[in-house]
């Protein structure tokens, strides 16, 4: 199997490009071929040299051919919102680019200035697939976007909220700084601590001890600030957080160390403490970066919004102006082209067409609309071209309302306390009580000083490294590994919820089915004079009716000869008719007639995904109770259910979005899988919402997990991963608790010296880290 020159996908139907006789290719599709030509035409063929050699960085899809006008990018009020000035005072905009996949992309994107007029500079961040482009006063962003599109990177302007962005950068930097400083200090402290443990002569003790204190101060103040902050907040909300004991240990340790120094006692835990801070910060940093990586790929809400719309002059429909949907106002007249999603609730002014409501309602059937009908934003215009008059824009629309519910839905999400928090709560409580007991006990038997010392020691040595480091680390591995498999998990809590799930609710349209009509059976009763294909093709040639569409689609393969049709008619709602070679043919209500005689009939249905059955069985094996929730008509759902061999109580039909979410709310430990806006609320109210490939932005925002591949295929695997992950985490918890109980014992028997503490703490963290890295057999298998 050869790979497409442009997108490196397997080529099924090869396209070739021939110039002056030389053939080059293969290409997987026309799109890739076109882009190939454009790139060569611009004298950028070096692109392919580079791509040939370098490794693919991300998988990319074939180029979709689409004519986008991006003229709305030059709109003044658009610029005001989306562009900023760079330090040369030039307009600068950020674009999310589809299809960034290797160093060659980097090369060609940063070459923009050399082949796009007026571009003064352009920079690409490969991790985020975001290009920053500056233009001179000669330049236009529409040109930039068009060129980007032409060379195969579909651009989506990013609204950069500077204040938040700067904040984010600042946070990241300060985090790095804290890590760096903590690391350096820990290293240096180790130097003196080790010397002291190794018994550096008394002449050095004081000096070295002072050095450790010196180094520890910035770590215990500046670097540890986050822990203090979180624990402060926790206390303010009267909750217990894992950071509290950490913060405590740090403060106590610091106090004790300095107190000792003042009393010329060369003894402190700064080596362990600083190392702890360093490790904690490091693990949190990585967890954060990985989560953000995931988010940047799921944060696609501009995909839906990004489509520009044509605003028409009310008086002269031939006058069009392209605008960004954000700027649609009530009473605007819009031109809606076939296969365009309707951007606002509106009334049809002129034109006829069919609407696909599935995204909004889950119905797979099509709704016929004509003038004065009402259309809702989020529905797809299938066939004809429409002029509509906007009644409600943005948040007022039905879509907008659902969106609101979704956002509330977040709040309502049934909160299960995850095991780590639970444990850490008990843990914190336990440690504190224990140290108090110890304190008073020693106070009675020995005295103030010893009592204080022992209590502090206990607090410090029982510092929950494992809880605080190993757990995040495990999640880091899981999140990143599943991200590589195209499963983006929004945050680590999800993993545990998944592992606990008992019920899985699945939306039909787009999840189990492909959400496109196909002729699933055709019964031929008699041979027609003209081949059936020819009849169908020639009669339906000009029809935009969805049924016509899929009929044509199904006969296209046997490319039927084009014939002349006399007095061809299309009676809307009924069908088409015409005379070919003297025979009168009709296609109406799912039948094909020759001279009024039924020759054949056919059935049309939303096609089942190939992997649907297998995936459902896999999920059953996971011990999940499956139920299909659909907004579609009962019979359609039944048909599907039959095909999948589901029994009566395993599916429900004709559910409103609200009803769906009610059902789900009523069952805890539930997963919802869906794509449409009608699933959004359900996704939000489920313990875990999984949005599948091609889902609408709303559902993406509502979901906790986003599948980069269509269908259910990956859900089962996701379940396994999450279960295994939790196994590892529990193991770690057990390990670390063992260690801590040992250290408690030592503390109570008063056997703890700085040396033993210095050994016990790292050893404990080390073992859990190792146990994490080893993971479990199945996990390793999955991660291969």
């Amino acid at each position: 199997m050869s790979a497409c020159i442009h997108c490196d996908q397997e080529v099924i139907h090869a396209h070739y490009h021939s110039e002056d006789g030389r053939e080059c290719g293969p290409f997987c599709c026309q799109g890739c071929l076109t882009v190939f030509n454009v790139i060569n035409f611009k004298g950028l063929s070096e692109y392919y040299e580079i791509k040939k050699n370098v490794e693919l960085f991300k998988k990319r899809a074939p180029v979709e051919l689409r004519s986008n006008h991006y003229s709305y990018l030059d709109d003044v009020d658009f610029l005001n919102e989306y562009a900023h000035k760079n330090l040369h005072n030039e307009l600068t905009m950020e674009f999310y680019l589809e299809g960034i996949h290797c160093a060659a992309c980097l090369w060609i994107i940063e070459k923009l200035p050399t082949f796009v007029n007026g571009v003064s500079a352009s920079k690409l961040n490969m991790g985020r697939s975001v290009a920053t482009v500056s233009i001179s006063n000669l330049g236009k962003f529409s040109d930039v976007a068009r060129e980007l599109d032409n060379i195969g990177y579909r651009p989506h302007p990013l609204k950069v909220n500077q204040s938040t962005k700067d904040l984010k950068i600042k946070e990241e930097r300060s985090m790095l700084l804290k890590i760096g400083i903590a690391g350096a200090a820990a290293g240096n402290i180790m130097l003196y601590a080790v010397s002291l443990y190794a018994g550096a002569g008394p002449e050095y003790e004081e000096l070295f001890n002072a050095m450790t204190v010196l180094f520890a101060l910035p770590v215990l103040t500046y670097c540890s600030y986050p822990f203090y902050r979180t624990s402060y907040l926790a206390l303010k909300n009267k909750t217990l957080s894992i950071d509290i004991p950490i913060a405590m240990s740090l403060i106590m340790g610091g106090v004790m160390g300095i107190y000792n120094m003042i009393n010329h006692v060369p003894e402190n835990y700064f080596d362990s403490l600083t190392a702890l801070v360093f490790l904690l910060l490091l693990s949190r940093y990585f967890l954060k970066t990985i989560q953000e990586k995931g988010l940047s790929t799921t944060d696609l809400h501009f995909f839906y919004q990004g489509e520009s719309v044509l605003k028409v002059d009310p008086n002269d429909f031939s006058k069009n102006q392209e605008i960004h949907p954000k700027f649609i106002k009530e009473q605007d007249y819009l031109r809606i082209l076939p296969n365009q999603i309707i951007p606002a609730d509106a009334v049809v002014v002129s034109g006829e067409s069919y609407l696909n409501n599935s995204l909004l309602t889950g119905e797979s059937g099509l709704q016929k609309i004509k003038a004065n009908d009402h259309v809702f934003s989020g529905t797809m215009n299938v066939s004809g071209e429409l002029i509509i008059k906007v009644e409600k824009a943005s948040s007022e629309t039905r879509l907008g309302k659902i969106l609101k519910n979704v956002e509330n839905g977040w709040g309502q999400k049934a909160q299960i306390i995850d095991i780590t928090n639970l444990i850490s709560k008990y843990f914190v409580a336990a440690v504190f009580t224990l140290s108090f007991i110890l304190y008073f006990w020693t106070l009675r038997h020995h005295g103030q000083k010893e009592a204080l010392e022992l209590a502090l020691t206990l607090l410090i040595v029982t510092c929950p490294c494992a809880l605080a480091i190993a757990t995040p680390l495990t999640f880091i591995r899981t999140l990143s590994k599943s991200a590589q498999k195209g499963i983006i998990i929004k945050d680590d809590a999800v993993v545990e919820k998944l592992s606990k799930a008992k019920y899985i609710y699945i939306d039909k349209t787009g999840t189990i089915t492909q959400n496109q009509l196909v002729v699933d059976q055709m019964n031929i009763y008699h041979q027609t004079q003209v081949t059936l294909e020819a009849v169908i093709y020639n009669l339906e040639k000009h029809s935009l009716h969805p049924v016509a569409m899929c009929l044509k689609e199904c006969v296209k393969i046997s490319n039927p000869e084009v014939m002349n049709v006399e007095d061809a008619k299309e009676i809307s709602g009924v069908g088409v008719s015409g005379i070919i070679n003297g025979h009168f043919y009709e296609i109406k209500n799912y039948g094909i007639y020759e001279d009024h005689k039924l020759m054949a009939d056919f059935h049309i249905q939303d096609a089942l995904r190939t992997d649907a059955k297998a995936s459902l069985d896999a999920l059953r094996l996971q011990g999940l109770k499956i139920q299909i929730l659909s907004g579609d008509k009962k019979e359609n759902v039944q048909a599907i259910a039959l095909e999948l061999g589901l029994n009566e109580n395993e599916y429900q039909a004709e559910l409103s979005p609200e009803k769906k979410s009610q059902i789900i709310k009523s069952t805890p430990q539930s997963i919802m899988v869906g794509d449409g806006a009608n699933d959004a609320i359900a996704l939000a109210s489920a313990d875990t919402g999984i949005a599948v490939f091609g889902a609408m932005d709303i559902s993406l925002r509502a979901a906790d997990v986003y599948m980069n591949y269509p269908g259910l295929s990956n859900v089962a695997e996701l379940m396994t991963i999450s279960k295994e992950t939790m196994k590892v985490i529990r193991r770690n918890l057990v390990l670390s608790l063992c260690y801590n109980s040992i250290s408690v014992l030592l503390a109570y028997t008063g056997h703890i010296s700085p040396l033993t503490a210095a050994i016990v703490m790292p050893v404990s963290s080390l073992t859990v880290l190792i146990s994490t890295l080893i993971g479990t057999k199945t996990l390793r298998g999955l991660w291969k």
Binding site: A103, N125, A184
Partner: protein, 59 residues
């Protein structure tokens, strides 16, 4: 072993210098994007000017 008295400040100065570098570089945003540089360095030969006579003057 008084040499230690001498080596310690030495280590301090060196360490301080490198920590300084680290802080400086972070603040200058050197570490904001830790993905792209790895790729960009592969392209260092790909900014050649094809016909280089034209630019001799500017060298």
């Amino acid at each position: 072993m008084e040499i230690i008295v001498f080596l310690i400040p030495l280590a301090l100065i060196l360490g301080a210098f490198f920590v300084g570098c680290f802080i400086w570089m972070t603040k200058k945003g050197q570490y904001d994007d830790l993905e792209t540089p790895g790729h960009r360095m592969l392209l260092d030969e790909h900014n050649k000017v094809i016909n280089n006579n034209t630019h001799k003057g500017e060298l």
